[in-house]
């Protein structure tokens, strides 16, 4: 993003290394692991049948079986591709429209009220209309996901551009930056922290909406595995699909955060200490 600069980069601060660094994340695992082990013991000892709430060992073996047959990978890939397509289009549109309404007061007055009105509609409410308009195949699914991603990205970009410090913009004016240089060298870096948060919020909604999209009639995808598990009475398959969602959601969020991190090292933030 800052390709024209970068002659000298500040040194990364030295990280503290020690037992505390390893123990702190481990502490967060304590509760879920305790619950899982507890439930496993309950089922093994016969205190519960575990028929509707399968124990971790059954979920794990279901997960392993699905992975071994390649089913899991096939469904996960389909879902992942839908999320990526919807996320990409939602981000591009949200960024463009957000930048325009953030930058120009006229287009803000013109477009923002309508967009805020549309934002107030629960996106799932669009499903019947999207099916009528775009059919029941990929197009309607990807558009639904894109709509879900669009709004947080739009809101984040628009708000961030509008709140860029006028004093910093004046520095750009004193150095007689052109319109595009102003965007590239002042506005984009200035909104980067807010933009990354908007992207991550958008991605989270993308994962939410892919489930809704796959509920509306899919023969493939993790959402299909959920519905299939419900109809065939296989709770372990449902939980396995949920685990797959959790892993993929966390992984994609981590990827976005990692790509963004080098651009945000300058932040003088509370959390960076």
């Amino acid at each position: 993003m800052l390709s024209t600069e970068g002659l000298v980069k500040p040194q990364r601060a030295q990280r503290r290394i020690g037992a505390a660094r390893l123990l702190r994340p481990a502490l967060g695992l304590l509760v879920p692991v305790a619950l899982a082990v507890g439930w496993e013991i309950m089922v093994r000892t016969g205190l519960s049948s575990g028929r509707l709430v399968p124990p971790p060992s059954v979920i794990f073996s279901t997960f392993a079986d699905l992975a071994a047959t390649g089913e899991l990978q096939r469904h996960a890939t389909v879902t992942l591709l839908r999320v990526l397509a919807g996320f990409a289009s939602g981000v591009v549109l949200g960024t463009l429209v957000g930048a325009i309404t953030g930058y120009s007061a006229l287009s803000h007055r013109l477009l923002d009220p309508s967009l805020q009105g549309l934002r107030a509609i629960p996106s799932i409410a669009w499903v019947p209309l999207f099916i009528l308009w775009f059919g029941i195949f990929e197009a309607s699914k990807i558009i639904l996901i894109a709509v879900g991603v669009f709004f947080p990205v739009y809101l984040g970009v628009m708000g961030a551009v509008r709140s860029v410090d006028r004093k910093i913009v004046e520095v750009g004016r004193v150095f007689r930056l052109s319109g595009s240089a102003m965007v590239w060298r002042i506005l984009l870096p200035a909104i980067a922290p807010a933009y990354v948060i908007a992207l991550r919020a958008g991605l989270g909604l993308g994962w939410m909406f892919v489930v809704a999209a796959e509920f509306m009639g899919a023969s493939e995808g993790l959402g299909f595995l959920l519905i299939d598990g419900q109809q065939l009475g296989k709770p372990a398959q449902i939980v396995a699909a949920i685990v797959a969602f959790a892993l993929l959601g966390k992984l994609t969020d981590w990827i976005v955060a990692s790509i963004a991190a080098p651009f945000l090292r300058w932040e003088d933030a509370f959390a960076s200490r």
Binding site: V8, P10, Q11, V171, V174, R176, W266, D268
Partner: protein, 257 residues
């Protein structure tokens, strides 16, 4: 030659900030504009920078009217206004993006050395003290070799020691290329340390109350009787509404405008 020709500014709400200010600043001059809050001194400076446009009259550099920020005019604000996402070195080189990388690096290194911050090249702006940050801002403004440098209360947010240090430092930098300096301040001592001429302004609307040549030799001794005498001359130019006669009879270093 920087020429202010009957410069006036009326805000859309009808408030007259500035009324008919005419001034000529010659090359090599340090003009200090001094006055209380609301006397339009910053408005005058912003009109010269091209960031704001005067509603009456005009400002011209070497005959060309200034209607937008000008290549030959640098501006330093009260706050350093460094870009937090760029290293100190990249902040200093911000105005040189049209130059090739190696040439830019050379100029940045030279500029940082002149302001004594070579060892800070690689740090983020947030890691600098207030005085260091303002020095970086000065280096950033001077690196494009402007023929006019405008400074809007550049040292007023700094402590007294840092302020005196940076005033001397600014004079050293000015000696190298002798650009026109136009500096706005509310500090009489600062005005007299720096200025070849002092413009005293009064408020509502902002007008020139008087212009004084400062005949003191450099480097100037802030404690000398001649310096005290110049302070008296400046003070006499202020409105009697601002300073009572009683105050004028007291030792002068006890108050600032």
């Amino acid at each position: 030659m920087l020429v202010f020709d009957h410069v006036g500014k009326t805000y859309p709400n009808g408030v007259r900030a500035l009324d008919g200010v005419s001034l000529e600043v010659a090359p090599g001059e340090i003009l200090v504009i001094i006055g209380g809050s609301g006397c339009g001194k910053s408005t005058l400076l912003r009109a010269a920078s091209g960031l704001d446009i005067a509603t009456q009259g005009s400002v011209a550099l070497d005959g060309a009217t200034i209607e937008a920020p000008h290549e030959k005019i640098g501006l330093i604000f009260q706050e350093p206004r460094l870009l937090p996402w760029l290293s100190v070195a990249d902040n200093v080189g911000f105005g040189l993006s049209h130059l090739p990388r190696s040439e830019r690096a050379k100029r940045i290194a030279a500029a940082l050395e002149r302001v004594g911050l070579t060892d800070k090249a690689g740090v983020w702006p947030r890691e600098l003290s207030g005085g260091q940050a303002q020095r970086v801002a000065i280096a950033r403004a001077l690196i494009t070799r402007p023929s006019v440098l405008l400074l809007d209360e550049p040292f007023s947010a700094l402590d007294a020691f840092t302020r005196a240090e940076l005033q001397d430092h600014l004079l050293d930098l000015w000696e190298e290329g002798r650009p026109i300096l136009v500096l706005v301040t509310h500090d009489i001592e600062e005005a007299l340390v720096l200025a070849t001429r002092v413009v005293v302004m009064r408020t509502q609307p902002g007008r020139i109350a008087g212009i004084l040549d400062v005949p003191l030799p450099r480097p100037r001794d802030r404690l000398s009787p001649a310096f005290e005498e110049q302070k008296r001359r400046v003070l006499r130019l202020f409105d009697s509404t601002l300073l009572s006669r009683r105050a004028l009879n007291q030792p002068l270093h006890d108050f600032q405008i």
